[in-house]
Assembly symmetry: C2
Homo-oligomer: 382 residues x 2
């Protein structure tokens, strides 16, 4: 069945997203695949640079394409608050708005709704809150969150969910999980847009039985992919990985799994070993703005005095524009002088570094050397 | 005579800079030429983007090359204060430090020394002052300022000078002019670096007789080019152009003339008509950071509500990456959301706009239509 998509391109109107696993690691749950969307293919495991407000901080779409990013993330809550889905739709949808032709995933804003604004009322119907920008009263329901993302016209969308903080009492973790499942069911009933795919989001805090139950009940709804929410919210790393290891096996093997908001390169490799396919994190751009640059040999804190006359690039092995053009000494000067180019260049390097880590993960799975790569990564910074 | 330059390239060690006038306008003093340096040719009239602290704010060297910038400017005062000429020299000189392979002009810092820091003592020997960054006591002499710029290893350098504010009493304007001439003489006696050229700087406030005298006395020293300082310091525009018109004729016809710190595109065209060849100004990047974008039809203040759902680019006629990729609506969103990409993109557009204005000036001089272009530009914003 073919339908005219928002972009005017003929897109295959499947309920299911293309997902072809091409290799599996023998010693772990790691797998490599291609996710197919109307805006392009996504090789997984994949890292999605985060463009919260419709811009991956400091970087242009050209920078991101040069970095081989195959999909980026934007945030429904932030873009609904400003500029609003009406303006984005008028300006041709989120791809055209951002000048980004490849796939886009939007998270639902559930996490932001429950952390940023003043909450007025949460019921099964939805969330009433006040904009964190101007205090305007707003209401989001599961249906309206899907419809907003339909106005954006992007590729992969998330349902409204209710995360809980860590630690959470089991009762409140269950209540939030039940509400998230209810909202997922209602979201799945909204008539989908051609070429746009809604994931389920697994909640349940760090309780193995809640996570398992949530994974199974969402699987019954038969989503084209599954996100894992409510982790990396302050719990110890080992607790996060223990929780994750406890339930990924209850998610379908033949659907992509997306671990929201994780993490360091080392975290990502550990999660890939547990069968996760998709990641997003603000880390590479956020620490980039502090002058922190990722390398296999650890994080370089470029403001440190030791780099003041260092003629070498951040990373001799890196082919990014920053490493091909600038010395650590110059980048340190830019950061000290508060020149924007400094944080732009270090953000660029960090995104390229993350993309390279993902390429090495995929290659090692194909070549059967993922286990060794996982082991080597244990020497990396946590 | 050939010498090994700092960069290791063989450079022609002329005392005189290459300067070949290829066309003159019949109705004005406008002319077009090529200035030849060891790091490349500079077609004039030329606009030099300003990289005060060793970075044209928000833009990469690649952005500037894509914008067809043939020369950029950096500031001796700022780079001496931070990171210091020693570090720049250790890191391979200013071109390598900044990752910019084309010509660089450094201004002497005279203007900054007399405006930014706490001045301790000014004598014919030089200027004692305190760093505006950390209060460290510093002393600059005409000789040390040349030697600092030799450590930078860039192409065109300026002598220490003493500008005066507007309005200035004639006595103080004469005293500052006399000291500037004395310093220019002493600067010219420093053994020059191969491939590096020292300009004289004309001072004299808005007094026609002082300006004429200064131009003539500097001409006797026989500099490879002449800068015009102490204008655009608060005087009315008409006073600036009247002053300029009064003395450019006393500068040699066969040397480049550089009007420091000017100005709007309209100002630049008016000054080209008076025989000026080189310009620098922070305007395109400074107003870019406020969300102001230059077009032939006036400045677009992108934060204005009228652009909130405007799908058109800043300038339909512009080929820059910003105009080819983003709508006014998106750029407005970026500026409102304080996303750095917004100010980077508008700065890029403004630099490209300036470069395009210069290309149109050069083309119109060659084609004999400069007079018409000058007239059309009178409709532009002041």
């Amino acid at each position: 069945m073919e339908k005219e998509g928002r972009t005017g391109r003929k897109v295959k109107c499947d309920r299911m997203l293309g997902f072809n696993i091409s290799a599996k690691d023998s010693s772990t749950q790691a797998r490599t695949s291609t996710v197919r969307t109307a805006h392009g293919d996504i090789p997984t495991p994949v890292f999605m640079p985060v463009g919260t407000q419709g811009s991956v901080k400091t970087l242009s779409p050209q920078d991101l394409q040069n970095a081989d990013a195959s999909i980026i993330l934007a945030n429904t809550y932030h873009l609904t608050i400003r500029p609003g889905e009406e303006i984005i739709s008028k300006l041709g949808g989120l791809h055209k708005f951002m000048g980004w032709p490849k796939p886009i995933l939007t998270d639902s804003g559930g996490y932001q709704v429950f952390s940023l604004p003043k909450l007025n009322k949460v019921t099964d119907e939805g969330v009433a809150f006040q904009s964190h920008i101007d205090g305007a009263p707003l209401f989001l329901s599961p249906e309206s969150v899907v419809k907003i993302q339909q106005a954006f016209g992007n590729d992969i969308i998330m349902p409204l969910d209710q995360p809980v903080k860590f630690p959470a009492e089991k009762d409140s973790a269950r209540a939030a999980m039940e509400r998230s499942i209810l909202w997922a069911q209602r979201s799945a009933k909204v008539e989908p847009l051609a070429g746009q795919y809604l994931f389920g989001i697994v909640q349940g805090s760090t309780y193995p039985d809640l996570r398992k139950e949530c994974a199974e009940r969402l699987t019954e709804i038969n989503f084209p992919g599954y996100a894992i929410g409510g982790l990396s919210v302050g719990e110890p790393k080992d607790v996060m990985f223990e929780t994750l290891a406890g339930f990924t096996g209850f998610l379908p093997q033949d659907k992509p799994r997306y671990l929201m908001g994780v993490g360091t390169p080392r975290d990502i490799i550990r999660a890939v070993a547990l069968g996760v396919d998709m990641f997003d994190c603000i880390l590479p751009t956020r620490v980039g703005r502090n002058g922190w640059a990722f390398t296999d040999n650890g994080i370089i804190r470029i403001r440190n005095a030791q780099y003041k006359d260092d003629p070498t690039p951040i990373d001799e092995t890196c082919n990014c524009y920053c490493c091909k053009t600038f010395s650590r000494g110059y980048l340190r000067h830019l950061c000290n002088a508060e020149e924007i180019l400094g944080i732009t260049m270090i953000s660029l390097h960090n995104i390229v570094y993350y993309q390279n880590v993902m390429a090495r993960i995929r290659q090692s799975i194909i070549e059967g050397s993922f286990g060794e790569f996982l082991k080597r990564s244990e020497q990396w910074e946590k």
